[in-house]
Amino acid sequence: MSRSRIPLSGLLPVVMICTCLATFQGAAAFYADAAATRENAVAGGVLDVKLSEVGPATQESTTDETRSDAVRDTWEDANHATDGSETVSNVLAVNNSASDLVADRANLTISFVENDSGIGATAGNAPNTSRTIGITKFTYAGTDLLASAVADENGNDRIDLEDLTLGETASNLSSLSGLGATEAANVSLSLSGEAGLLSGVGSGDGVDVTVSVTLHAASFADRDASIDNTVRYG
């Protein structure tokens, strides 16, 4: 069997074609250059209010909670004198030290629900009970709120617990001065109930008061509260 051999000269066209292809490929590789912007950090700060019970506390009020998101029994007197001879007082510290943002305003919100005990209590009279609980001291960050923010909203010629929840007073309490990062301000509140101011309110009638503190930084908001503050006539 004879083997056919490709003459050396026969490879020349193949080499030429390969060379042309390589040349063409090189011509099709266009330039490109890139640049980038990196490490453009966008990150959120923190607004995290904490509450502490400072004291001096009266009656059954406590000072056992610090830097918490919820404190209890800050203003507590479940056996309150009916004749107005007792005052329930405490100081609640509003602390912004867990934040790195300045709070541009503070909001105090007072609310209450009925919490009666015993057979002498009248059901459904929480508003009446609240009207018998006078506010003898109310300050925030050294400002006397009784002089600057609170009015006799219910028109009974005295400043009472219900007034703090109504009308212009509630609005005023929602736009108090803010706190710098790491700063703190005290809320001092004293309540003194006198059951005899209104008929139908007596021993066993009481309310649970909630004092909420909200700090704002633009639309960031953090709301913490003192809860289970029972003021009930003994």
């Binding site: 266009f30 330039y31 490109a32 250059d33 890139a34 640049a35 980038a36 912007t37 990196r38 490490e39 453009n40 950090a41 966008v42 990150a43 959120g44 700060g45 923190v46 607004l47 995290d48 209010v49 998101d69 867990a98 790195d100 943002l101 930084a217 633009a218 639309s219 960031f220 908001a221 953090d222 709301r223 913490d224």
Partner: protein, 235 residues
């Protein structure tokens, strides 16, 4: 006189050898092809350059940003894009992205506020208010937000939406070579405000989002924009 036959044969052979040698020598000379060499010197073959600069550099680091940010805080930057090379480019291509960067402040400890977000969730709380490509005179030639919708349903067009729908933007006009002019990329961002009229509170509760702007606390992203200058339309 009669020449002996042997002598005659020898002389003929010598003559033939001589003539053959001379002929070979002459023939070899005839077959040598002519060749001449000359040199053309210093004909340099140098490639042109396409050299993109962003704010005058190959990498623009931390050109814009917001740290310890709160809602309504904003930041913007106008990037200058130039071709410092001598080869004309056909067009500019942009690619846009972000990556989680929580190296700022820690998440709040209040359980009402704690929401550890990933990069994409964080990006959904960063509104993009401006993303434009401008020519040398500052006129907007491409509003890069025009084709981006509120895909995640929170009421605003945010970084997550832009990444999802417009991460690669091609065919933008290129600046002229040799730095003869510039084009510009403008981006502006703003932290979402859930009190704002456009924001849909609770509109986006995927993943670790609660639907409110407080989720943004303690979370962050790094934004990256890559700009590519291409020489040919086919690229």
């Amino acid at each position: 006189m009669r020449i002996p036959e042997a002598l005659l044969t020898r002389d003929v052979l010598l003559s033939l050898l001589l003539v053959g040698s001379v002929s070979l020598a002459l023939g070899a000379g005839t077959w040598a092809f002519l060749q001449d060499t000359d040199r053309s010197q210093e004909n340099a073959l140098v490639g042109g350059t396409l050299d993109l600069k962003l704010d005058g550099a190959d990498t623009a680091t931390a050109a814009f940003g917001l740290t310890d940010a709160k809602p309504t805080d904003s930041a913007s930057h106008n990037f200058t894009i130039t071709n410092e090379g001598d080869v004309a480019a056909d067009h500019v291509e942009l690619s846009f992205g972000f990556a989680e960067n929580d190296t700022g402040v820690a998440e709040p400890t209040d359980t009402d506020l704690y929401a550890e977000l990933n990069g994409s969730e964080t990006a959904s709380l960063i509104k993009v208010t401006q993303f434009e490509y401008r020519n040398d005179s500052g006129a907007v030639v491409e509003d890069l937000l025009s084709g981006v919708s509120d895909e995640n349903g929170n009421g605003v067009v945010d970084l997550q939406d832009v990444q999802s729908q417009g991460s690669s933007l091609d065919g933008l006009p290129a600046p002229q070579p040799n730095g003869a002019n510039a084009t510009y990329l403008v981006i502006a961002v703003e932290i979402v405000n859930d009190d704002g009229s456009s924001f849909v509170a609770g509109g986006n509760i995927e993943g670790n989002l609660t639907g409110y702007d407080e989720d943004f606390m303690g979370d962050g992203v790094n934004v990256t924009i890559k700009v590519t200058l291409n020489q040919d339309a086919s690229q």
